[in-house]
Amino acid sequence: MALLEGRKISKAFGGVQALNQVDFVVEPGTIVGLIGPNGAGKTTLFNAVAGAFKPTSGKVVFDGTDVTGLPANAICRRGMARTFQVTRPFAAMTCLENVMVAAINRHPAKPRSFIETFAREKLSFVGLAEMEGFEARHLNVIQKKRLEMARAIATEPKLLMLDEVLGGLNTQEIGQAVEFIRSLRDRLGLTVLWIEHVMGAVMKAAERVIVLDQGQVLMAGTPAEVVADPRVIHAYLGE
């Protein structure tokens, strides 16, 4: 059974049809890339799936239950976590506190000592251990992206949705990041749905790729199938 399934998801903003009858599945234990040109509707799809807003029509089925239109916090509790394209850390809170917020809502009954240890583990997992006492507003963009990942992981999700976490990295760093995203699955057992513009990285780390274009699914398949498809090349490069 698919962990996440979108059935004919549509979203209109006024007259703009941002998503049009989008169907897709994410199988458990896979890393799925979500790609497409600017304005294709990738982040809109994330928002509709994760409960930031309700799709105009269509269904989101997560882990066997219909979660369409549930508030983001309820969806999070069911095991879906996300990061944001434009990062949204709790700016005036320390890095440790940022992660603790996620931890206390996953483990409300646990004592503070447990929560702190738990949050520190997540911070070291993303390589921010030494920043724990700094307010999040002092971090650079890359560190903020990592902080958001730590925060998302601390909700102990089944599915982690990453929205462009590689922007601003150089080639070597991208290689490390690809390893990191693989480790999310291999070490933490997460399923990953991942929006990314850095095509090389997606092709290396993802097992399946969904291509969105103008609010519709252009195709879905293995990375090799996707790069070879003339429709995809056309969508990115034009005639």
């Binding site: 994760a50 409960g51 930031a52 508030p71 983001a72 916090n73 999070c76 509790r77 976590a81 996300r82 944001f84 949204r88 850390p89 709790f90 700016a91 005036a92 809170m93 506190e97 603790m100 917020v101 996620a102 206390i104 809502n105 996953r106 409300p108 700094f134 002092h138 971090l139 650079n140 560190q143 925060r151 998302a152 601390a154 909700t155």
Partner: protein, 311 residues
């Protein structure tokens, strides 16, 4: 600072506060009592505005609700003021719940304007419902005890303030406090990590309003004359200025702000009511140049190297 050290400091300050009024005359005692009222108002408003980011202008109105509820019950039905204060607290909590729910989808200036409207409507009702409230003449109410004693009132207000600050402190340092701050920092992000944002916001409104109602109830029975001055914008802006100048979003800031500004206001009373204007201007300047208030300035001065190491 460790918990133990903090407890010791708190105990010393409390002991100081207990002996402080003994050598003082009636007038300084009065100033201290009013200061304690403002400590309660500013600290509870800080929970709402400083910790969850809901800048309500209806906080003084909630104190008015507490004062008038208790006062009217005592005058019209002969109910014991202590029970009246509890009733006032409960009504303020209920109205806070309603106002919080009304403002749930609002943020920033819209929430402020809605609560401002609530406060103004209440003010107009109180001024005009002369039969019930005695309008601007004020409602004469009985005191909390049979024999009037300034020093007893001082200890009652001190105990009430200590109780309230203890509750606030525990709340801020619990999981709830983390959730409050997460909501203030970024609602969408808070939701995305499982914070029940709507519950958190309404809870903050309810608790803060109950506290304002409680403080207002006690204050009314201390003054013995409840006037529309309590649920007024003047009082609201005093509370705002105290919190902002003291240090919004910190536990100690509003306490310092309340004492400092109330005592200062008494000192410059001879020059008329200009202190409200002055405090407003100072609050503006502080909010612009030292958003964490006097406390923030002091902390920055103490730890000048607390700057980021950006990699």
């Amino acid at each position: 600072m460790t918990g133990k050290k903090l407890t010791v400091i708190a105990a010393i300050i409390l002991a100081g506060m207990c002996v402080l009024p003994l050598g003082l005359g009636i007038y300084p005692q009065h100033v201290l009592i009013v200061s304690l009222f403002y400590v309660m108002m500013a600290s509870s408003w800080n929970l709402l505005a400083g910790y969850t980011g809901q800048v309500s202008f209806g906080h003084a109105a909630m104190a008015g609700i507490g004062a008038y509820t208790s006062g009217i019950l005592a005058v019209k039905a002969g109910i014991d003021p202590w029970i009246g204060v509890c009733a006032g607290t409960a009504i303020a909590a209920l109205l806070g719940l309603g106002l919080g729910a009304l403002c749930l989808k609002m943020g920033g200036i819209y929430l402020s304007l809605t609560t401002l409207a609530f406060s103004q409507i209440l003010h107009i009702v109180i001024v005009n419902e002369y039969d019930v409230t005695r309008g601007t003449m004020g409602l004469q109410v009985p005191g909390l005890m049979a024999e009037y004693s300034k020093i007893t009132y001082y200890y009652i207000m001190l105990a009430a303030a200590v109780l309230m600050l203890t509750i606030l402190y525990r709340m801020i340092h619990s999981n709830l406090g983390l959730n409050f701050r997460a909501v203030q920092n970024d609602e969408a992000a808070a939701k995305s990590v499982g914070v029940k944002v709507l519950q958190v916001r309404i809870l903050a409104f309810t608790v803060a309003s109950a506290m304002a109602g409680f403080a207002g109830g006690l204050y009314g029975h201390y003054l013995l004359l409840i006037t529309p001055e309590i649920p007024s914008l003047d009082l609201q802006f005093n509370v705002l200025a105290m919190t902002v100048i003291g240090g919004m979003g910190s536990f100690i800031g509003p306490i310092i702000g309340a004492f400092a500004l109330n005592i200062l206001a008494e000192k410059i009373r001879d020059y008329g009511e200009y202190h409200v204007l002055v405090f407003g201007l100072v609050a503006l300047v502080v909010a612009r140049f030292a958003p964490n208030g006097l406390l923030g300035l002091w902390r920055r001065f103490r730890t000048p190297t607390a700057h980021p190491l950006v990699k």
